[in-house]
């Protein structure tokens, strides 16, 4: 059979960009499909636009939000300047049981969420890959840290991660560019916290922002981050890592990539005679035209739940519940981080200290629970993200005051404030699952997802502990007016770290993928986005998406060359 492409990559974001780069650089004709609209790097509509040139000052009408963007408008990065990067929820509905919210935040353009991500980049640790085996929740990862470590090295050199070496077993160091700097009150907090709690460290947030761009990065047109903190609008300087700024240009320059926007993948075509995936069925988002495209290998990188939706919708006689799903685990073990627990307060002094620039990261407190400080209240643990700063005019309308004194007070930065909020590991549970809706379809006629996911007692206890320990930490550092914070309304999904619905594992009877992100049953089908995760750890997952994708692409390339695939 003559295939149209060597490889089809579904999705062009964090994972898809890496798959495209790796295959194209290895000489394979690669088709990248994305449901979203076209978006060229450097052609970002709102980038560098002065505030007085924003038609609506960054605001979006609440009625419009409720009607069309009811879920994505909950994302911190959703505003007038970024609206075009977010999906219209009304076009792509999904269901949840009543009183069981799941906030599914989805992108709308080529580049996916790599355009609007918060860029926090942390490796998983050896203990993260052993956690399931140790406490029995979930299935054992079929890989260990040492399997992935060289691939972390590989992607970090290309992507560019700033951070400090800390030699922490629970948070392995990356190949770093120099870290961003702490402010004086943050340095004081670090000293006092680390003196008080021997197992707690306060470090600079590790972030995919160029502080010392390499020759390779500059060749792609990327430059040093200029602390504009307008990343979510798109950065034509490539100061932060996105597929549009980095991996897709690298793929494009090989001449081997075909990138199609507005290409909605309906399902994967399965050839029952060979047992392989033949290609994909595609709907043109603009015209509705339906086509099929064939390739020797399919890489699913459409994001955890979108990939799973396509897999579930790829039904045949052999696989009535979705391609490659004899195990029945497809759609199950959905996880997101638990958040909503933390603390905030006011720092006295440092009145004469200010800063220049808008630092694109904050502080990080790596996990200490059940590492240096055990607890019997819950399994696993959490890290904190936060930092100190001085507010400006945008908060002033909340306080009383009018007139000259009020206006003059706004002209000066406010006093220092500080906050930390936890990101905790959610346990993999079978009952946290997605399936296809029996009644609801999207605007292309594709069955919507039904998402049934909730935090368990373990996560809720963890959230309370986050608030307790964040309060302790701030008090130990001498912070004033410390307020313990617990947001009971925070539900899964809103952290936008969803993973786990086509998990890797050692046993084909209880997992969907093997240790190379390869379907146990359909050997030319790979899933390298978050769907593949067997556990979520407490670190932000994108760096691990990148490492797994590069590793799987290398594995698949070798097998393509060998004629096995």
């Amino acid at each position: 059979m003559k295939y149209e492409f060597d490889v089809i990559v579904v999705g062009s974001g964090m994972s898809g960009g890496w798959a495209a780069k790796e295959f194209c650089e290895k000489g394979f004709k690669t088709l990248v499909l994305d449901r979203g609209h076209a978006q060229e790097h450097g052609d970002y509509k709102f980038e560098s636009r002065d505030p007085w040139d924003l038609p609506n000052a960054g605001k979006i009408n609440d009625d419009v939000k409720q009607q069309h963007y009811a879920t994505v408008s909950k994302c911190y990065a959703f505003q007038e300047q970024t609206q075009d990067f977010f999906i219209k929820d009304s076009d792509y509905p999904y269901e949840t049981p009543e009183c069981k919210t799941f906030d599914w935040i989805r992108p709308a353009s080529v580049g996916g969420k790599s355009l609007m991500w918060a860029r926090q980049s942390y490796r998983f640790s050896p203990m993260d890959f052993e956690a399931n085996k140790k406490d029995g929740f979930g299935t054992d990862w079929p890989v260990r840290y040492d399997d992935l470590a060289p691939w972390y090295d590989y992607v970090e050199k290309f992507a560019g991660i700033s951070g400090s070496k800390e030699n922490l077993p629970q948070l392995p160091d990356s190949i770093f560019q120099k870290p961003h700097v702490m402010t004086a009150p943050e340095k004081n907090l670090k000293t006092r916290v680390e003196e008080t709690y021997k197992g707690r460290k306060v470090i600079m947030g590790r972030v995919a922002q160029l502080t010392e761009p390499t020759e390779e990065q500059m060749e792609l047109g990327r430059g040093q981050c200029q602390s504009r903190n307008e990343c979510h609008r798109g950065c034509s300087w490539g100061g932060y890592f996105s597929s549009l700024a980095a991996t897709l240009p690298a793929a494009e320059r090989t001449g081997n990539m075909t990138l199609k926007a507005d290409a909605v993948v309906h399902s994967i075509i399965h050839d029952e005679a060979t047992g392989k995936a033949l290609g994909v069925r595609v709907i043109d988002a603009k015209t509705g035209e339906k086509t099929t495209i064939t390739a020797r290998v399919i890489f699913m990188c459409a994001s955890t739940l979108s990939t799973t939706q396509i897999l579930l919708n790829s039904q045949t006689e052999k696989y009535p519940t979705g391609i490659g799903n004899s195990s029945g685990v497809l759609g199950h073990y959905l996880m997101d981080h638990v958040n909503g627990g933390g603390a905030r307060g006011r720092i006295e002094g440092y009145d004469n200290v200010y800063f220049k620039g808008r630092r694109p990261t904050g502080l990080y407190i790596p996990r200490f629970r059940n590492i240096t400080e055990p607890t019997d209240k819950f399994l696993r643990g959490y890290g904190f993200q936060g930092g100190a700063g001085r507010g400006g005019w945008q908060y002033a309308h909340h306080r009383k005051g009018i007139g000259v004194d009020y206006k003059n007070s706004i002209q000066k930065p406010s006093s220092w404030g500080i906050s930390f909020y936890g990101f905790g590991e959610m346990l993999p549970r079978y009952e946290n699952a997605v399936r296809l809706s029996k009644t609801s379809v999207d605007k292309h006629g594709i069955p919507a997802l039904h998402i049934d996911c909730a935090y368990s007692d373990n996560e809720l206890k963890m959230r309370e502990d986050m608030a307790d320990t964040a309060t302790e930490i701030l008090k130990a550092a001498g912070v004033k007016d410390v307020e313990r914070q617990v947001n009971h309304d925070a539900k899964p999904g809103i952290v936008i770290h969803e993973v786990g619905t086509a998990r890797m594992g050692r046993d084909p009877a209880t997992s969907y993928l093997n240790g190379y992100n390869q379907s146990h049953e359909v050997d030319n089908l790979f899933i390298t986005d978050g769907a593949a995760f067997a556990s979520i750890a407490c670190q932000n997952p994108s760096l691990t998406f990148m490492a797994f994708t590069a590793r799987a692409a290398d594995y698949a390339s070798e097998h393509l060359k060998a004629g096995v695939l």
């Binding site: 609506n56 961003h180 903190n229 620039g357 001085r390 005019w393 945008q394 009383k400 706004i410």
Partner: protein
């Protein structure tokens, strides 16, 4: 439809006892306004001349002229009209229009009052701005958009504050007496 069990909006308004020379909105009066309801005529009209003047008085009371122009001096009032038409939800439009209707119909002295009396009234509302109720919600919205209109204007950003679109790598600097707060906000 008329709800006979509720006082009409007009009944409520005419029952208001104003303080401070008939200008101030007393807590009782404001609370009474909050319980009134509208017949919906606010939804399809914009502000008339007196309402625009009222907006301007409130805005310039909040952010008066200093070394830089006042809120209306940079066009914050015109931005508010745009916000009313484009940015506000139907609910927000309703509470704003009710607030301005009340000021127009029941505090007819407001626009002709002395500047100091106007300031007194605005300060009275501001002092109670954290109270619940539509009136205070309307005021909070007006105040928020006064600040947005001013500090997101070119003058507000570049003259009143420190606007630096390309600051370069983040670093600490001393805050001098002449230093100004940054005009930029995160995620904009």
């Amino acid at each position: 439809m008329t709800n006979l069990n509720k006082p009409s909006r007009r009944t409520v308004i005419t029952g208001i006892t104003a303080l401070m020379g008939g200008l101030a909105l007393s807590d009782t009066a404001l609370a009474a306004l909050d319980t009134a309801y509208s017949n919906g005529d606010h939804l399809n009209r914009s502000f008339d001349r007196d309402q625009m003047k009222t907006i301007a008085v409130f805005m310039d009371a909040i952010l008066p002229e200093t070394e830089t122009p006042s809120a209306t001096g940079v066009g914050a009032d015109k931005f508010f009209v745009h916000a009313y038409q484009i940015i506000f939800s139907a609910k927000q439009r309703k509470i704003i229009m009710e607030f301005l209707d009340h000021m127009k119909n029941d505090h007819t002295e407001f626009l002709s009052a002395s500047h100091s009396d106007q300031i007194k009234l605005v300060k009275h509302v501001d002092d109670n701005m954290l109270n619940s109720g539509n009136t205070y919600q309307a005021y909070r919205l007006l105040k928020e958009f006064t600040l947005i209109g001013f500090y997101r204007s070119e003058v507000g950003a570049t003259e009143e504050l420190d606007y630096d679109p390309v600051p370069g790598p983040f670093h600490e600097v001393p805050l001098k007496p002449s230093s100004k707060a940054t005009a930029s906000v995160i995620f904009t």
